[in-house]
Amino acid sequence: MAELVFGRPKALSDVPLTYCPGCTHGIVHRLVAEAIDQLGIEGKTVGIAPVGCSVFAYNFFECDMVQAPHGRAPAVATGVKRALPDRVVFTYQGDGDLAAIGTAETVHAGARGENITVIFINNAIYGMTGGQMAPTSLPGQVTTTSPYGRDKNIQGSPIRVCEMMATLDGVAYAERVSVDSPKNVLRAKKAILKAFQTQLAGKGFSIVEVLSSCPTQWGKSPSEALEWIRTEMIPYYPLGVYVDRTGGGEA
């Protein structure tokens, strides 16, 4: 008898994803769905979709979903969570959404210690609108709105979100991971699981920043893009746990 050892997580909808070939959003979607399955929380989870490439996330997760205005996902999540404190609420946001237009919502949800989980996709670019500079675009990075490379004297320097959020007492757990290699995908999976467990334990705000690739807008092949995460992004955005006030160590 053949045994099924690998399949679609139950919390991941059986529909084609709208992401470009080689984009790592699909991997992160899968990791989130696996965490939801593992914790058995699909029926009590409400997800918040952002504006950006993952705007259609409401089609991809099997839990109830709310689509938020650009950058406002943490505020929308706050409203859901305060109305339904026993529910699990997560946001799924890109770098433009979370670290540019939604910076205030992100910082203050963290400062309040909102008991929500934020999955933050950092791919250093605006993907949906066609490759513009993000708040996390690297120094020197060429984008359609920094065609001569990001110049810190003109466009300033990138925001390191986990480092910033770790300064806030309300943030219980902040970790930066990457999905450039199988080893790092497994670490990312553990981090996402721990973020949801942090919320289930009522410990406060949890955020997992995932360094992610955008082959289309970076103008690279999928494998070159993964290499670029390793050689360019990780040195600027070191992986690791930036704060862990959960008190319980690893789950």
């Binding site: 839990c63 709310v66 706050t78 409203g79 859901v80 919502e105």
Partner: protein, 359 residues
């Protein structure tokens, strides 16, 4: 039945609690800050929550989240803050989410002033947010009416799945009047099977969303919403007629201005001028047919529109009566209020013009 003396800003907060609202999200701004302060004191006593947001934008999006989760929820602000909320209001409309938004208007534009105004008629009625969108807009003229309309507003919002605005002003927010809050009774919010509350494995997932990439689908949904708007117009339009039976001169005014105009109409009547007042209570839907019919019944010859702005409602009045009567305007702005004598003088000038046969 017991009456208590309350500020408008406090009365609406207490009325909302009586309506089953247990979540309030806001941000301080004069002249409505007492709403947040009152909620901060009262909500914990009734098992609710008052949360001060980091901005007006965050507050309206917290409202969006709570409404998506099926809660009765409200926010409040004043003119510049309402402008900030317009992004969220459009998303609430596009997502078919009910809520109550109180606007205690002040003078504008820009930071303007902090004194009473009706500066946001257009904002509330014509451009609640981007896209084809409307809010139901109530314009109370007394504190008891704020209380009564709060109950109506929550029910209408839930019934039609639309955001509702209570359009007050600095005077109504700040002044005290005796009110009976018990009169609105106990309200139980309806079941909301569409809400995103977690499906519990018992139904398919619910999606709260305003994005529709296929133009055919978006058009269909907007048109469906406008059918609901037509139903709201047919069922929920409110207005008051005062001494309109034989009013040759009809004063059209809403909110605090209507109270000044009522005094002026009485004074005109004492002088033998057949004046009356038509007061729209819903500014959207606008009681156009009702105004037209009232003027036709009364044999009205001239219309005076009075507002605390530079004439934001006047075109709706002209359209309501198909421009078949001369319409004049008297407005004060920047936080100034007209006196009854000022309005009376205007009524007298209209009466004189009519008698002289002037156009």
């Amino acid at each position: 039945m017991s009456k208590v003396l309350m500020k408008g800003n406090e009365a609406i907060a207490e009325a909302a609690i009586a309506c089953g609202c247990r979540l309030y999200f806001g941000y301080p701004i004069t002249p409505q800050t007492e709403v947040a302060e009152y909620m901060a004191k009262r909500m914990p006593k009734v098992g609710g929550l008052c949360l001060q947001a980091e901005s007006e934008i965050a507050a309206i999006n917290m409202v969006l989240g709570a409404s998506a989760a099926g809660a009765r929820v409200m926010t409040s602000s004043s003119s510049p803050g309402i402008a900030l909320k317009s992004e969220g209001i459009s998303y609430l409309v596009g997502s078919d989410l009910p809520c109550l938004i109180l606007n205690v208007q002040r003078g504008g534009p820009g930071l303007g002033g902090i004194q009473p105004a009706q500066s946001d008629y257009n904002l509330a009625v014509k451009s609640a947010g981007h896209g084809d969108s409307h809010m139901v807009v109530y314009a109370p003229s007394s504190i008891q009416e704020i209380v009564d309309l709060t109950a109506v507003a929550f029910d209408v919002g839930d019934r039609y799945r639309v955001p509702v605005m209570m359009l007050a002003d600095g005077a109504l927010g700040q002044m005290m009047e005796p009110v009976d809050i018990e009169s609105i009774g106990t309200r139980t919010p309806p079941e909301k099977p569409w809400a995103a509350r977690g499906h519990e494995g018992r139904r398919k997932k619910n999606i709260i969303n305003s994005l529709y990439i296929e133009p055919e689908e978006l058009e269909r949904l907007v048109m469906e919403r406008y059918e609901r708007y037509a139903k709201i117009a047919a069922e929920e339009t409110r207005w008051e007629e005062y001494r309109m039976d034989d009013a040759e001169i009809c004063v059209v005014a809403y909110g605090i201005t209507a109270r000044v105009c009522k005094t002026a109409v009485d004074a005109a009547r004492k002088k033998g001028i057949r004046a009356g007042m038509f007061r729209p209570i819903t500014l959207w839907p606008y009681p156009s047919a009702q105004l037209d019919a009232a003027c036709a019944r009364a044999g009205t010859r001239r219309v005076l529109v009075a507002e605390l702005n530079m004439g934001q409602m006047i075109d709706d009045v002209r359209l309501a009566i198909n421009c078949r009567l001369p319409v004049e305007f008297h407005g004060r702005t920047g936080g100034m209020l007209p006196s009854p004598d000022e309005i009376l003088a205007k009524i007298e000038s209209l009466d004189a013009a009519e008698k002289e046969g002037k156009n």
